[in-house]
């Protein structure tokens, strides 16, 4: 096994365990912290794929800013009593879980048997270049110029939305 594979397995273990624990966890604060851990594992995957820029962005934006706001909100809301929100086990849940299991099995069959060949992707040596900040900005400001600008519009709408929904008083 190469160092890369070992790193991958470690990251995958961290990622999966944290994702699983995040759902099972009763304490919302723990859940969010585990989600941050999960994001770190994802950032590690990006690094393995030679996408350094996206990896750092993942840490900066998700683990750094967004998740912190999450933790913030959860701590302020003080959602300690999650048990009270729990539904009783009913028919709807049983059906939903059957569907869920079927879906997971389908995906499993799909990815590991049917689409096996599609997933055999080798990382091309050019990808180190492609993940660099220079290449990304080149593509971003030429081929994907319009999507880039539209993204800024989406952020703008987000700001306006916050004002519309949360401004204390309209005159």
């Amino acid at each position: 096994m190469t160092l890369e594979q070992i790193t991958f397995i470690i990251l995958a273990l961290i990622g999966l365990t944290s994702a699983l624990m995040l759902i099972i966890q009763k304490n919302p604060v723990y859940s969010v912290l585990l989600l941050i851990l999960h994001f770190f594992a994802l950032a590690g995957f990006y690094l393995l794929l030679n996408a350094q820029f996206i990896a750092v962005l993942q840490i900066l934006v998700y683990a750094g800013a967004i998740m912190v706001l999450f933790v913030f909100v959860i701590m302020l809301l003080n959602l300690s009593n999650e048990e009270a929100l729990k539904d009783p086990f009913n028919l709807r849940k049983i059906i939903a879980s059957i569907f869920g299991v079927v879906l997971i099995l389908q995906f499993g069959v799909f990815f590991f048997i049917k689409a096996k060949d599609d997933l055999n992707v080798t990382i091309s040596p050019n990808s180190i270049e492609a993940g660099s900040i220079k290449k990304i900005s080149e593509v971003l400001f030429s081929t994907y110029l319009i999507p880039f600008e539209v993204t800024s519009f989406i952020l703008l709408v987000g700001i306006i939305a916050a004002i519309v929904l949360a401004k204390r008083k309209f005159e």
Partner: protein, 475 residues
């Protein structure tokens, strides 16, 4: 980049500039509401005129991501006309609710921008971003009057489910990118047959379809529709149910347009789409019967209509695609008019919109009752109105594509739906009620209603004109 590129995408530029200009006007000018109202009307009219004038100049801009001219401009026309109609009548509605602010127009414009991008994009990333822009604005518009608890509920429901659907869409796009190595729709369409052999691509396609089905409101992704249409301000429901659906169908048509060429093996996807169509038609029509709230009834009818339109896409031929576009145009006018009529009945937010409130409308307000009756006839698909030809073309396409069972189910569902549409007419004309109800009519609303009526009649009398226009520009 030459000047020509910017001339090509001028409609988008007009709309985006207006959005930003509106923000500035709102920020720096005290009594901005009226100014913004007129500013948006003027810029929408400019968009309409420009998109018609340049309809013959077809181009691909910005490294094949943005199409302009032809069918795209037709979509621009429909989308901005719908928005224009909604904006014209929205002011009085919002003034009545004492909730008239410039932000409403900003959000309408940003959603319009998103819808226009969806209709013109030839790149899945851009399609997704357009969809997000549209949905984000709609989430907020649905909860626009935040004093009303109902609005908040609608907004939150729409947001939660919509975000979920966006996730499906994005995952689908990711899988498609993984198997096709590109997000450009034109390149994917060229390789469609080879790509269909890859399971990953099929899965991506199905997920993409799920995402779009949510936005077009087809069963089984329709749960949000009744609650959101009922809870949102009525003018917003009018926009969501028409322009939102048009944009989502536009994106769907663009993504699946490759299926119309005969070499493409589209059967798997067509089968899925036809199941969606059958479920939507039947569930939509049958559930609508039980509704007494008119907004809810229209929501279920919107689900059924999504089903009829999906038939056109499942039939995978040119007639089907142009039939869907024709249907969308007619549907926009019919639905805008119906929702606006309902909004006239409301004296305060979300009141007086049940069937019983329409009792005896023919005696007190014969003209409004007549327009409402006409819209109901058109929605149920009775000839000589536009709605009939919408359904006719779509069913014809299904028969051509050897999907006769779809057409049969469509007709059955139309018959079922006639019941609840005509029930409104019966309530208005054949029942009387002593108390006289005011209608809050203004000249702006009257103008919109008359315009819609004329369009629906015109589309019913000379459908060929529009259909020829659509077929000419479909590649």
């Amino acid at each position: 980049m030459e000047q020509q590129t910017f001339l090509n995408i001028l409609p988008i530029l007009i709309v985006s500039t207006t959005t930003i200009a509106t923000i500035f006007v709102e920020a720096f000018y005290k009594r901005s509401d009226n100014l913004i109202y007129w500013l948006s009307i003027v810029s929408l009219i400019l968009t309409l005129i420009y998109s018609i004038l340049t309809i013959n100049v077809q181009n691909l801009n910005f490294s094949n991501t943005l199409h302009s001219g032809g069918i795209t401009n037709l979509f621009y026309f429909v989308l901005s006309l719908t928005s224009l109609l909604v904006i014209i009548s929205a002011r009085d509605y919002l003034l009545r609710a004492k909730y008239h602010h410039g932000e409403f127009y900003i959000l309408i414009f940003s959603s319009l921008l998103g819808m226009m991008l969806m209709a013109s994009s030839r790149d899945l990333i851009l399609t997704f971003l357009g969809l997000e822009l549209m949905s984000l604005s709609f989430y907020v518009l649905a909860g626009y009057n935040r004093k009303v608890l109902f609005n908040n509920e609608a907004s939150l429901k729409y947001f939660l489910l919509g975000a979920f659907a966006s996730g499906f869409l994005l995952y689908g796009i990711a899988l498609i990118y993984g198997s096709a190595q590109t997000t450009n729709i034109l390149l994917i369409v060229n390789e469609f047959n080879n790509l269909l052999l890859k399971p990953l691509f099929v899965l991506g396609l199905v997920l993409l379809l799920i995402g779009f089905s949510f936005k077009v409101a087809s069963v089984p992704f329709h749960m949000w529709v009744p609650d959101v249409y009922e809870g949102s301000p009525t003018v917003v429901s009018a926009l969501m149910s028409t322009a939102g659906k048009t944009a989502a169908f536009a994106a769907l048509i663009i993504s699946f347009y490759g299926s119309t060429t005969s070499q493409v093996n589209f059967e798997i996807v067509a089968k899925i789409i036809s199941y969606l169509a059958i479920a939507s038609m039947l569930i939509g029509s049958i559930t609508a019967i039980a509704q007494t709230n008119l907004k809810r009834m229209l929501a279920y009818s919107s689900i059924a209509h999504a089903g009829y339109m999906l038939i056109g896409i499942a039939s995978a031929n040119k007639l089907g695609m142009s039939g869907v576009i024709f249907y969308l145009i007619v549907y926009s006018f019919m639905n805008v008019a119906s929702f606006i009529l309902i909004s006239l009945m409301e004296n305060d937010f979300e009141k007086r919109i049940s069937l019983n409130d329409f009792i005896g409308l023919a005696n007190t307000h014969p003209w409004y009752a007549a327009i409402m009756a006409l819209m109901m006839f058109a929605l149920s698909g009775l000839p000589p109105f536009g709605g009939f030809f919408g359904k006719y073309y779509v069913f014809l396409a299904a028969i051509k594509a050897d999907l006769t069972y779809l057409a049969v189910i469509g007709v059955i569902s139309s018959v079922i739906s006639a019941y609840f549409y005509l029930r409104v007419v019966v309530y208005m004309y054949f029942r009387t009620n002593e108390e006289r109800k005011d209608i809050f009519h203004t000249s702006a609303d009257n103008f919109v209603l008359v315009l819609c009526t004329l369009f629906v009649l015109q589309l019913g009398i000379t459908p060929n004109l529009v259909l020829d226009l659509i077929t000419r520009f479909l590649p």
